[in-house]
């Protein structure tokens, strides 16, 4: 089993969910995060003092899936989330030792 962690633009979440749903993946964990990468922040002025905003809001989508699906899903997500501008995000891929479904107690691939 593999976990993929996708840092996405908040506006692209719906598109990604849609392609995942059509592919057959309905389980995911979504969190609102802030972060920075190549996408530079900006400066603003408030009450006469300049300040910088470097951390930008992003959305993190975490999915655990079978190893054989990873390459295809990563490609699907990338295509759905890409705009071509700096700030499109990143996908990180991790191995997963095990998974457990709490309701039934089953583990392994049948739990995801």
């Amino acid at each position: 089993m593999t976990k993929i962690e996708c840092i996405l633009r908040p506006g692209k979440l719906e598109d990604v969910k849609e392609v995942l749903g059509r592919f057959g993946i309905h389980g995911m964990t979504v969190s609102q995060v802030i972060g920075c990468g190549l996408q530079k922040g900006r400066t603003a002025v408030y009450r006469g003092t300049e300040y910088s905003i470097n951390l930008l809001p992003k959305v993190k989508v975490e999915i655990v899936l079978a190893d054989r699906l990873v390459e295809e899903v990563v490609a699907l997500i990338s295509d759905a989330a890409r705009t071509g501008e700096i700030g499109d995000g990143k996908i990180f891929i991790y191995p997963v030792e095990n998974a457990v479904r709490i309701r039934t107690g089953e583990s392994g691939e049948s739990a995801i």
Binding site: E14, Q32, Y46, R47, G48, Y51, N54, L55, P57
Partner: protein, 462 residues
């Protein structure tokens, strides 16, 4: 139609013609009617001024960070509760009791005894309510400046003293038969007594209290601690502006004084001019009209017109308001630079412009103003008056804060300040379920069991 015309002419005609003595209509004489109109007027205005406390609460809550916003509203509420009782027990007597040596009033604690020396045309309760609303307003000015790091308990003590002692003494000097009033100082609704006193008190308080953690860096550079809710702040500003229609015209204490219409006019125009100036100046200086400065500008205009609202013309009010709006913008920067950390701009709005407004009477008053051929005398009296009131308020509040600091301590601990006063002083966060905002501030509090809304809700696909 006929009976109504009869009534109108029977009542209004004799009142306007001064044929009041012994003229009875519907069982009431004109003197009773006058007393009735005046009482209704003062009570309604007292309610308007009291509602300004909601203005203070929302303005301040909006300007500070979410994690301290319950605390600031509690502090304003304390002004309305503890401050109110303090003014009833002690404050009103010190302010309006029979004058002693031109310095303080000497009787009428808990509203006991008579107030014949005041020559009131309305019940003393109506008069008291109106005055009490002013007293709690002065205390509320300080609440904004000490936001986000002051302990709640010592603030209770300060509020009781502000409404019970500091404000009443200043008020007595100008309005209660004290030495400044006798010198001819003109402060119709309190640019000096309420606003300069409150603003310079706030300065003393923040100098003793110290800046918020994270406001200044080791090299002295200034960090922005941004407002968490501009909507609340604007709502507060609208409410304060609205309440000022009671603050200024109500100070006539008479619904029969036709000047109340012009007073409302000058008040309103000064606010508009101040807000415009604040927006234009920040647009010029920083490239964007800063909404917080637009608000501060309008409030500065209101503060500045408060002294002269009854004495100046509408065009003069526009000038006074515009200057106020132009003063408040650099003033905010100034107090930031001298490390007098004032999250809401109370010192710049109330201290600086309360002073300007008092002086402006010496310039623009139709009777006695420098620009109207009145010479320098009034201006000199105004200057002396605002200086005396400001120094007194600064010294008195500074002393109170120093004593509190040495005895019970006035600042929360570092951990409490970083976690937020809402949870630490009051046991309940302001918002439940708030997550990270775009400015990197994590106001993460309790997560609720509610589904988070989708970022871009879409219609269900068939």
């Amino acid at each position: 139609m006929l009976p109504r015309r009869l009534f109108v002419s029977a009542v209004i005609f004799p009142v306007l013609n001064g044929k009041c003595e012994g003229e009875y209509v519907m069982g009431l004489d004109a003197a009773q009617l006058a007393a009735g109109i005046n009482t209704v007027w003062v009570l309604l205005c007292a309610a308007l001024v009291f509602f300004m406390e909601a203005g203070f609460a929302f303005l301040e809550a909006g300007f500070i960070r979410a994690r301290n916003s319950v605390n600031i509203v509690m502090k304003v509420f304390t002004d309305c509760t503890v401050g109110m009782l303090s003014y009833w027990a002690v404050g009103f007597a010190l302010m309006y009791g029979l004058d002693r040596a031109g310095l303080f009033g000497g009787g009428g604690f808990f509203l006991s005894g008579g107030f014949a020396h005041l020559h009131l045309k309305i019940p003393v309760y109506a008069y008291w309510l109106f005055q009490a609303a002013f007293a709690v307003a002065m205390a509320s000015i300080v609440s904004g400046a000490v936001a986000e790091r002051m302990k709640f308990a010592p603030y209770l003590v300060f509020t009781a003293l502000a409404a019970g002692l500091i404000y009443p003494l200043a008020g007595h000097w100008v309005w209660g038969g004290g030495w400044l009033g006798r010198l001819g100082m003109l402060d119709y609704a309190g640019s000096a007594v309420v606003h300069a006193a409150g603003g310079w008190s706030a300065l003393a308080a923040v100098l003793v209290l110290g800046a918020r953690e994270g406001k200044y860096n080791r090299d002295g550079s200034i960090n922005v601690l941004p407002a968490h809710n501009m909507h609340l702040a604007f709502l507060g500003t609208f409410i304060l502006w609205f309440g000022w229609f009671g603050f200024n015209p109500g100070s006539s204490l008479s619904g029969l004084d036709m000047n109340i219409a012009r007073i409302a006019m000058t008040t309103n125009l000064a606010a508009a001019a101040g807000g415009t100036a604040g927006m234009l100046l920040t647009r010029l200086k920083y490239g964007q009209a800063d909404p917080s400065m637009a608000m501060n500008g309008a409030l500065a205009g209101l503060v500045a017109i408060t002294a002269g609202c009854a004495f100046v013309s509408p065009p003069a009010a526009v000038c006074i308001g515009a200057v106020a709006g132009m003063l408040v913008v650099p003033a905010v920067g100034f107090f930031d630079r001298i490390h007098a950390d004032d999250p809401v701009g109370a010192i710049a709005v109330h201290g600086v412009n309360g002073t300007w407004g008092t002086l402006a009477v010496g310039l623009f008053a139709e009777k006695g103003g420098l620009f109207y051929g009145g010479g320098w005398h009034l201006l000199a009296v105004q200057a002396l008056g605002v200086l005396a009131v400001s120094l007194f308020a600064f010294a008195a509040t500074g002393t109170v804060f120093l004593v509190l600091k040495k005895t019970v301590g006035i600042r929360v601990s570092m951990r409490e300040e970083l976690e937020g006063l809402d949870l630490n002083e009051h046991g309940i966060p302001a918002y439940v379920g708030l997550v990270a905002g775009p400015l990197g501030e994590m106001d993460v509090e309790e997560f609720s069991d509610v589904y988070a809304p989708e970022t871009l809700p879409r219609a269900v696909r068939q």
